[in-house]
């Protein structure tokens, strides 16, 4: 039955009709999708779900540590919580959220229809999701026949020989191993996809020198993931051989070595930190120029510095092992390389400052998060330089000073830029604007909470409080400081609640955003919000690093100066 109405608009499905489709159909569509935008959103949603879980684990630990001789949770549970918190935040929060953004934005920014291998993309996501499910299934499945299970409790770096069958009974460590192995396969699939997409699918005119910095940095991260996750995969295979087939890789009684595990883990572990933070740099490199109303300062140097960080980060791992007792040559080498990483990182900070210098800065929510990132990441970098000196590290290694340092990097640096990115691209993804007032509450509460918690966390470390202790005696000078650290959590949770309310409310009730609410310059803002399945009706052609600037200012295009 055809009528004129249905013929006149065959391409366009109005939102009201889309809403009316049965729930099963809509869920099915998301599960079988190979669309890079849907997979990107699923990655981000999955990461945020685990962010909440990992945050609750941290909260439980902070309640336990708020007072001396506290008995809020048992020592066994405490061990499980810090293991799961670390593993979750790195593998199930950081990487998925960053891969989600890369998935969503890389094809849009280079004017492509989809990723290079859409089905591999879906495979990567579902493998990562399976890894997370396996890891968390340990809470109910790991006791096995021994009754000694529960979640993994060997710490997120799972040092040998604690992971040997004799010391880790039951299957908790196996869930940790297999969970990370599986999600690692997903990570490699996605990284391979990002690199291939950026190298092969750029639209006409987009040379490597015109690629947005976001795409450049994610390409570097993708290449790093390929060679950085694999050592972890190899080490996990060795651990499984030891645990299941009676192998001797990390069995010192048969000639194996526990220190080899440390090397293999940190060859993965330290570059992993840069895998996490470079996408944070990528967000900042897109957001800061737009809200400073200036092109990025030192584009080529930014790319070179990123490549420099990626390269140097492969040679710094043993600074995690100063306290093991290495030769003085090793100590000197790893101190020097670690300090050297600070140089390209410092160049980046100066470039962002150079971008803001003389710009017309707009203090929008994404920009505020990025400015917070700049200050906090600087401090995190400085404590990193302190810890890179081997003698200093002998004193403070494995203390709360270290814990404060890397939380400064990962929250003060990474999480702040992730929030900035979530606000910055929310209008593009949802088609609606968020509430500025609620966003400001979120920013300030989270900023205050962050500083209360992590500024004060440095001090008990200097006073000798080791990490991963279940409780402590009163009267060591740690009591008040620990209480302050724990109180900061309340502000952080309050800030996060403002964010959740803001995004839920704005997704349905926010003002329509239009294609380009920020007056930005990269290609994703040239299509509708949210972008259609095909991304661009016609393949864009670019002539400079800021294609939308050229479009809006034909009288003064960028390509005249590049």
């Amino acid at each position: 039955m055809l009528d004129s109405d249905s013929i006149s608009k065959p391409m366009f499905v109005p939102p009201a009709e889309a809403q009316a489709r049965p729930l099963f159909d809509r869920v099915h569509e998301w599960i079988v999708t190979v669309d890079h935008k849907k997979l990107g959103l699923m990655y981000i949603g999955y990461g945020i779900l685990f962010l909440v879980i990992g945050g609750l684990e941290a909260t439980a630990m902070r309640i336990q540590l708020a007072f001396p001789n506290n008995h809020f949770i048992s020592p066994q549970l405490f061990n499980q919580l810090f293991t799961m918190h670390g593993t979750t935040m790195v593998f199930l929060v950081g990487m998925p959220i960053l891969f989600g953004f890369a998935n969503y934005l890389v094809p849009l920014m280079i004017g492509a229809r989809d990723m290079a291998f859409p089905r591999l993309n879906a495979f990567g996501f579902w493998m990562s999701a399976l890894g997370g499910i396996i890891l968390y299934f340990s809470f109910i499945g790991a006791s096995g026949l021994y009754g000694a299970g529960g979640a993994p409790d060997v710490g997120w770096f799972a040092y040998a020989p604690l992971t040997a069958k004799a010391f880790s009974r039951g299957h908790s460590t196996d869930y940790w191993t297999i969970g990370l192995l599986v999600s690692g396969i997903g990570s490699i699939a996605t990284a391979l996809n990002i690199v291939t997409t950026a190298l092969c699918l750029r639209c006409p005119g987009m040379t490597l020198g015109r690629m947005p910095l976001f795409v450049w940095l994610n390409t570097v991260v993708g290449s790093m993931v390929l060679i950085v996750i694999s050592p972890l995969t190899a080490a996990q295979i060795m651990l499984m051989i030891d645990r299941y087939l009676g192998g001797h890789f990390f069995d010192t009684q048969a000639g194996g070595s526990a220190v080899v595990w440390m090397h293999f883990f940190w060859i993965f572990g330290h570059p992993e930190v840069y895998v996490l933070i470079i996408p944070g740099f990528a967000f900042a490199s897109e957001i800061i120029p737009v809200f400073s109303r200036k092109p990025i300062f030192g584009y080529a140097i930014m790319v070179a510095a990123t490549l420099g960080i990626g390269f140097l980060s492969l040679g710094v791992w043993a600074h995690h092992m100063f306290t093991v007792g290495m030769t003085s040559y090793s100590n000197a080498f790893f101190t020097a390389t670690t300090m050297a990483v600070g140089v390209p990182t410092g160049i980046k900070i100066f470039n962002w400052l150079g971008t803001m210098w003389g710009g017309k800065i707009r203090f929008t929510i994404p920009m505020m998060f990025c400015i917070g990132f700049l200050f906090q990441f600087l401090i995190a970098g400085l404590t990193g330089i302190m810890l890179s000196a081997a003698p200093f590290d002998w004193q403070l290694g494995n203390s709360y000073f270290v814990v404060a340092h890397f939380h400064y990097v990962l929250i003060g640096g990474l999480v702040f830029t992730i929030f900035g990115a979530l606000y910055y691209w929310f209008p593009k993804v949802s088609g609606r604007m968020f509430s500025d007032t609620l966003g400001r509450w979120h920013f300030w509460l989270f900023l205050i909470g962050f500083h209360i918690t992590f500024d004060f966390m440095h001090i008990p470390g200097v006073l000798g409080m080791p990490r991963r202790i279940y409780t402590y005696e009163a009267g060591r000078g740690w009591d008040t400081l620990n209480l302050i650290v724990s109180l900061g959590v309340i502000f952080q949770i309050a800030g996060i609640l403002f964010w959740v309310v803001n995004f839920l409310w704005s997704s349905f009730k926010g003002k329509p955003a239009g294609n380009d609410p920020w007056d930005a310059w990269t290609l994703e803002w040239s299509t509708t919000s949210p972008p259609p399945d095909y991304n661009f009706a016609t393949t864009p052609v670019v002539h400079s690093r800021r294609p939308l600037w050229d479009l809006k200012h034909p009288e003064d295009p960028d390509w005249k100066y590049e």
């Binding site: 060679i227 890789f249 000639g255 194996g256 080899v260 293999f264």
Partner: protein, 180 residues
């Protein structure tokens, strides 16, 4: 084009895995507390190594054939590649049988056994994965589904097979010569 880039990325990731296993093998060489030592039990597998290296040549000939559209010649060279790979697998299994039943070297018997079977086994598992994919293509070829326009995709698979062969150069020299 994108298939080749993707495969090179996978090769980079796989190379990193092999690097870790090779480093472990070299580091643990001679650290085994119980015997036997590699020198006592390992013989250089000359014949099967020549077979595996030759399969890189036959797969190049198969690539050339499909590039020119000669599907019959392609199927012939492709089959030769699989046959050479199979000889390698059978030879490896014979070697393992000899080690396990004549010398008592298993993955749990000593540190040498652990590192030997895991490194050589990691490579062997890659050979088996490669053979599976080659066989699938052979079935398609015999059914007449592989044509000239698939030359590039065949090239992607050939790239993986070359990688598997190249890794054997490293594993062979490390296990049977350097750390003997």
């Amino acid at each position: 084009m994108r298939g080749h880039v993707g495969m090179w990325c996978l090769i980079a990731a796989e190379s990193a895995i092999f690097t870790i296993f090779v480093v472990a093998y070299l580091y643990y060489a001679g650290k085994s507390i119980t015997g036997p030592t590699p020198r006592e039990v390992l013989d250089v597998p000359i014949f099967i190594s020549i077979c595996l290296f030759s399969s890189s040549f036959t797969i190049v000939m198969a690539e050339r054939a499909i590039h020119r559209g000669n599907t019959r010649l392609f199927a012939g060279w492709w089959f030769a590649t699989i046959a050479l790979g199979l000889i390698f697998v059978i030879g490896s299994f014979r070697e393992w049988y000899h080690l396990i039943y004549d010398h008592g070297v298993t993955i749990s018997s000593s540190l040498f056994g652990t590192t030997f079977y895991s490194l050589v086994g990691l490579h062997l598992s890659h050979v088996l994965i490669g053979l599976t994919m080659l066989t699938i293509v052979l079935i398609f070829a015999l059914l007449g589904h592989v044509r000239q326009e698939h030359a590039q995709r065949i090239g992607v698979l050939a790239l993986y097979w070359h990688f598997v062969d190249t890794v054997w150069v490293v594993v062979l020299s490390v296990v049977y010569f350097i750390a003997r």
